[in-house]
Symmetry: C2
Subunit: 164 residues, 2 copies
């Protein structure tokens, strides 16, 4: 499925390679709360400024997907990681999100996190919900109408969690 995909960490200097995916994902307005017109500079800040860390999945030097890993809370909540994942529209259905998720769980464990939490899984994004469930996440909360979906309007959002 994901043969030939290499996942590695990048810094701010390489974020320009992530940006085409990031831009297309937020432009669709159906999965992330980021403003659809967020600038590359702001996106780069959010995804690469420590403690946030950014990783890419590449095949033949082409970036096919990416994720951001960071503590979900500061201080007394910083044992719980948070992550966000994006896959290039043309690279879906190849197991890349699954490979990124598995990689993030391992990176989170290595960094000393003891759990991972997603705060904003859009309920209509059933492919993602099922994928996270296969990776051990449970729905632990449901926020009514927390997302203004480009097609569906006000849409519920799940909080998902797993221990590491």
């Amino acid at each position: 499925m994901t043969t030939g995909v290499l996942i590695r960490e990048i810094d701010a200097h390489e974020f320009v390679r992530v940006w085409p995916i990031f831009r297309s994902v937020i432009a669709s307005g159906d999965t992330y709360s980021y403003a659809p017109d967020l600038s590359m500079e702001d996106a780069c800040d959010i995804w690469t400024t420590p403690p946030s860390r950014c990783f890419v999945a590449e095949r033949n030097s082409e970036v096919l997907g990416c994720y951001m890993l960071h503590p979900n809370q500061p201080g007394l909540g910083n044992h719980v990681a948070n992550a966000g994942f994006m896959v290039a529209p043309g690279a879906r259905g190849q197991g890349i999100a699954s490979a990124l998720c598995a990689h993030s769980l391992e990176q989170a464990r290595r960094a000393g996190f003891t759990a991972m939490q997603f705060n904003f899984v859009v309920a209509t994004n059933t492919v993602a919900v099922r994928l996270w469930q296969r990776h051990g996440f449970q729905i632990v909360g449901r926020i009514p109408g927390a997302f203004r979906h480009a097609q569906h309007g006000l849409t519920d959002v799940y909080v998902m969690h797993r221990f590491l």
Copy 2:
């Protein structure tokens, strides 16, 4: 209960008056995830940098409590407000948190928010949980062990929500 309490918005220049309350609340390590040794400068940034707004409850020019109001998410989630409340240890049991909460709900409505969400209500903080419930909030999620409580160790955290 709260006669003589005036609630008003402040900017960063007055945050020094909030700081004694903020410091004592986070030092106890039983309600907020902020690092107990967070600096005043960082606290001020978090609570007063737009879009965050900071309000104080005063009586005879003494600050007895405070709250922060801001969007819980950027962009397509910014119709949901988030707020955090603190009351001076010596001023508890006087209805100040309740007055602050009512004020924040009205301010959130005026600012155009259509809901308010709390992401991190420590489950052992039963006084707060009951107070938010009296102000119309419901528990919509429970995150296991998301808070390292100074006395109780790993403690669950509630996500609470109400429409405005």
